[in-house]
Subunit: 461 residues, 2 copies
């Protein structure tokens, strides 16, 4: 007679409540108080020696511009390359353009190890230096590794705690989903966003500490502490949102998404970097003719605690900082967020759901009236009492230099942001976005930062 002893439940029904408990546990936590954390992070920054200096392209080791294509490539052909992209979106203020783009086909692991202490889930976070971070050291996931990292393409030391994410050590998967990264700078880049839980004893290395979700939430209220990789992983956790309903059913939302995808005809072609028009390559940087967008630069990095002690690499350096915001409104008593079905050149399938506003204001300063991006001016002029959350965060410090954006959640009223918003926009609940995050490729990395705030109680709607 068949038995069900070999079966698992499809869903871990206890997990949402355990995540909620961890999010509700802030302050002193169980393993390290936030007061101690601040000292610890400063200590980790000073005990290790870090140095990042700009260098001419010609001084890079093992990186060079390919003689034919002009692509900026590593001698091994691995890691990533800077290539050209020709983009035709056919609408809006910028219907067609060319640009440099980072091509990194390998899928990496952004992994956080979780473990219960005193009945509360804690997450093993790492004080990690990345050359592009303004303050160099930020809080990162337990493991942040490209496939080149963990297959030893760079001949470095072992990646710590990697065994929990490769099946080599005993751990239960809480979430593991492929998510996109910045579509304006990366060509179809994905990482696995993973959280696994262990019940084993874990030896905690000097650069690591256990924090609750609530403690991480408190740190997310500070500028430039929690790095992008941590934010995107935390966004994918199946935390519970108590919502009696939503303006649109899930079926309607998915239908709207499919219709939005259908109405865009985005044509993206990889071209040689040498053939990119509107950009000039100098000895120290590659720049847009107007000085807009970003520069491609090179740095030399020294770090006493990384798998490889010293290296050189290219980075993208944005020229201006961005403003990224969700508008929020209670509809029928339930908080909703206004999502934008946004085209980005590097997305694998043209669109993903983005925050209401995601712009570098300088690029739109010349536009007036209806040509202004919807809702941008409302966010820029928001009264302090309408701002539910505001902090500056850095984007991926391993690829982007001083790439900072101001993240906001701004309250709107029905006049400013009606139930039926302009084409391309739709009201969703946090719970609906959370469900979409389980399946990947629906919600962009900027929206995921804002979802991480809600998951960790850094912001409340």
């Amino acid at each position: 007679m068949p038995t069900t002893s070999t079966l698992s439940a499809r869903q871990d029904v206890g997990l949402p409540a355990r995540l909620a408990r961890s999010a509700a546990t802030g302050g002193t936590g169980c393993r390290m108080s936030l007061t101690d954390f601040t000292g610890w992070l400063t200590h980790r920054t000073t005990v290790n020696r870090f140095r990042v200096e700009r260098i001419p392209f010609a001084d890079m080791d093992a990186w060079s511009f390919h003689p034919e294509t002009g692509n900026l490539v590593h001698d091994t052909g691995r890691f990533f390359s800077v290539e050209g992209l020709h983009v035709t979106v056919g609408e809006g203020p910028f219907p067609e353009w060319q640009q440099p783009i980072i091509n990194q086909p390998e899928i990496g692991i952004l992994g956080i190890l979780a473990k219960e202490f005193d009945g509360v889930l804690h997450f093993l976070m790492q004080a990690k230096m990345e050359p592009g971070n303004t303050n160099l050291v930020q809080l990162s996931p337990t493991v942040q590794a490209t496939r080149s990292n963990y297959t030893k393409a760079h001949k470095g030391a072992d990646v710590k705690y990697l065994q929990y994410f490769t099946g080599a050590a005993d751990a239960t998967v809480l979430v593991d989903v492929l998510q996109s990264e910045h579509g304006a700078w990366f060509y179809r880049k994905f990482n696995r966003n993973v959280v696994v839980e262990t019940t084993q004893d874990v030896a905690v290395d000097d650069d690591f500490c256990w924090l609750t979700l609530g403690q991480i939430g408190e740190l997310l209220r500070r500028d430039d502490v929690v790095n992008m990789d941590s934010r995107t992983v935390l966004a994918c956790l199946p935390v519970p949102f108590e919502e009696p309903g939503a303006l649109h059913s899930d079926a309607e939302l998915l239908s709207w998404y499919a219709a939005e995808r259908s109405r865009h005809s985005v044509d993206v072609r990889r071209i040689p970097l040498a053939g990119v028009t509107g950009w000039r390559r100098g000895t120290d940087s590659m720049d847009h003719d107007l000085g807009w967008y970003f520069r491609v630069v090179a740095v030399r990095v020294q770090a006493s605690n990384r798998e490889v002690g010293a290296w050189t690499q290219p980075l993208f350096e944005p020229r201006d900082s961005g403003v990224i915001a969700f508008l929020t409104r209670k509809i029928g008593g339930v908080p909703h967020l206004l999502a934008h079905a946004r085209v980005e050149a590097g997305f694998i399938d043209s669109i993903e759901l983005a925050p209401t506003v995601q712009y570098t204001p300088r690029h739109y300063a010349h536009l007036t009236g209806d040509a202004r991006p919807p809702f941008l001016d409302m966010v820029l002029a928001a009264r302090p009492d309408r701002i539910r959350y505001e902090a500056v965060h850095s984007e991926e410090g391993g690829r982007f230099l001083n790439a900072q954006a101001r993240y906001l959640i701004v309250e709107a009223d029905e006049t400013e942001a009606p139930d039926e918003p302009p084409p391309g926009y739709r009201w969703l609940t946090a719970g609906q976005l959370n469900t979409l995050l389980r399946y990947g490729r629906y919600v962009n990395v900027q929206a995921r930062t804002l979802m991480a705030l809600l998951n960790s109680h850094a912001a409340e709607l």
Copy 2:
């Protein structure tokens, strides 16, 4: 005080039971019995005049080989084109190759209109001629339209019932999801798979009839009656599967999928059709040097009941028919299906979940021992009492000529197909596959045909 009057439930909790009731209603149905249906389909085939003849490429109207690229294109630049593809998968018996491929960036609508009669959901199906079908007329969705169709690129008549799928007529979305099509023949092709329900009176045109899900299931047991577009849409319906658990939790399955995606490095580059090596273009066809795979051919089509009465077009004509099968086993008393994380050149993101076996046996006839594709020989040699389902179905008759495959569901035992199958394979329940189908881009079109059988009770596990 806020109210919840404007809110919808996120899920239509009554829908699965209504779909189950429709699937349980076969035979006479409510609107047309299957006996009447057979006569009706024959009548529709004879009352309309259809004619498909092979012609030389040079006799096509408005289609030609581009003088530089050799791509086979329409004068308007719309519809689709036949281009070249260079594929590097780096493993298996065919690690690298070039081939012609259909590029059709427009996203079409495959839509079925549903309505309750006598408390049972019925689906408005169409007797539709497609030039590639062996028997020309098969049962298709209510609407099967590319964007060129419904934006009138071909200056044809209106697409019937389209208004229910564009928001112009009142209807509730039951499902609407972007799904891939044949990755071996299409470059990143997607269609919206849509079912909407109306409560309005619907005037039924001559070529249309209302059938229950159970009736369609009975028709799916016949060869070549229900077309591919119908099968893929029906696969996406959220029918209920009673399963107390599964061998792997949903989180584990998604993690396995992410790991499978990560371990494949598939490089796909579009190249000019003129530059494709291993293929020769003649006056009437473009053929693989070994006579394998498929030919590109041209046809002239005449139809008295289509939006456009006569036209010419290219088709892909497979040289051999395929064998497509899920192995099934009860694990812990719950039926499971053995899915394969399969690489296809035209997939947007390298892999999708496919049936256990999906091969053209002739291409593997030269291989022996471990080089044979896993499970293929087991399916080819399956005893009749192990075969739960077997029928021949056609693939997309608008693009493929006489493209038939034998679809099977074959029972396996633990020795033949253990709980821990080879790398790249995983046991899932039908309910787990059904959930993945809600989000798109996870389950390939061949697996969707097999899921349509389960949804409609054409096959039982």
